[in-house]
Symmetry: C2
Subunit: 130 residues, 2 copies
DNA sequence: GTTGTTTGTATACATACAATGTACAAATGT
DNA sequence: ACATTTGTACATTGTATGTATACAAACAAC
């Protein structure tokens, strides 16, 4: 069980740990690296591996379950479910635009060059369409 | 004074208000919509406009000042400063990659199509290089 | 030069959130 | 039956967020 893809969490980030876990796992789920039927590590296992309390992992799993990605059951663990894409809320695109713009502004402020940012965008885009 | 570009903040977001203000303003600063020498609205003005306490705005201004964007002084207000791009930290690119990937995963999970995401990426990229 | 006004700043407080500790409940194997 | 392995529930503790209120500095008016 539990093909554990390495999750990277930063305990000093201002983003709370449980949301970092959610974001990491959701990436893997969306990209298909975690297929339906897969069993995730138990909350205690993953908590130990990441150095946080298992309740923090349980909170993350519950969030993903509420998004429809996981099915949680005692004694059996967290299993990835089938899930069809929902209808996007009407402001989804506008929000995405804003968040993307702010993310780019943030890294430009950090000193990343426009060139390397553009390169990354292109790379991701190519990866998407593939 | 204070050509007030419309900031959009969502009091129900899980992102705290002062950081929403920071993110919005940083976008405008990076993109040059707020030129050095510009005076921002006073903390009380902007607080009133956004419906939050002025100390919340003051916190945001202080963060931007600590990033080098603003110069704060009593009685004169918040003035946009000259600022040269710093040396990016060594993990900046990797972090950007991860954040971008997670942002895309998030909106795909919300139901946005790969096509519209790709289109947005392309648009932003073109806008960057322009 | 005193006074009032306009700014940002400092501190104290209430509330909410994040992470943990501990006890529990359910499912399964022996 | 019993023990074990899972997720769950709830209380506790520390930290973050947002507000209220008082303060300090700079400048203008007189």
């Amino acid at each position: 069980m539990s093909a554990p893809p390495k999750l990277v969490i930063d305990p000093h980030s201002n983003v709370p740990v449980y949301r970092q876990v959610v974001d990491n796992l959701r990436s893997l789920l969306v990209e298909g690296a975690l297929q339906p039927g897969t069993t995730l590590p138990t909350v205690r296992e993953l908590g130990l591996e990441l150095g946080v309390h298992f309740n923090t992992i349980a909170e993350a799993y519950r969030l993903l379950a509420s998004e429809g990605w996981l099915d949680l059951k005692r004694r059996r663990g967290a299993v990835v479910t089938e899930r069809s894409a929902p209808q996007p809320p009407p402001d989804a695109l506008a929000n995405f635009r804003r968040n993307l713009r702010q993310l780019i502004a943030q890294v430009r402020a950090e000193g990343l060059s426009v060139g390397s940012i553009a390169h990354e965008l292109d790379r991701l885009n190519r990866e998407l369409s593939a």
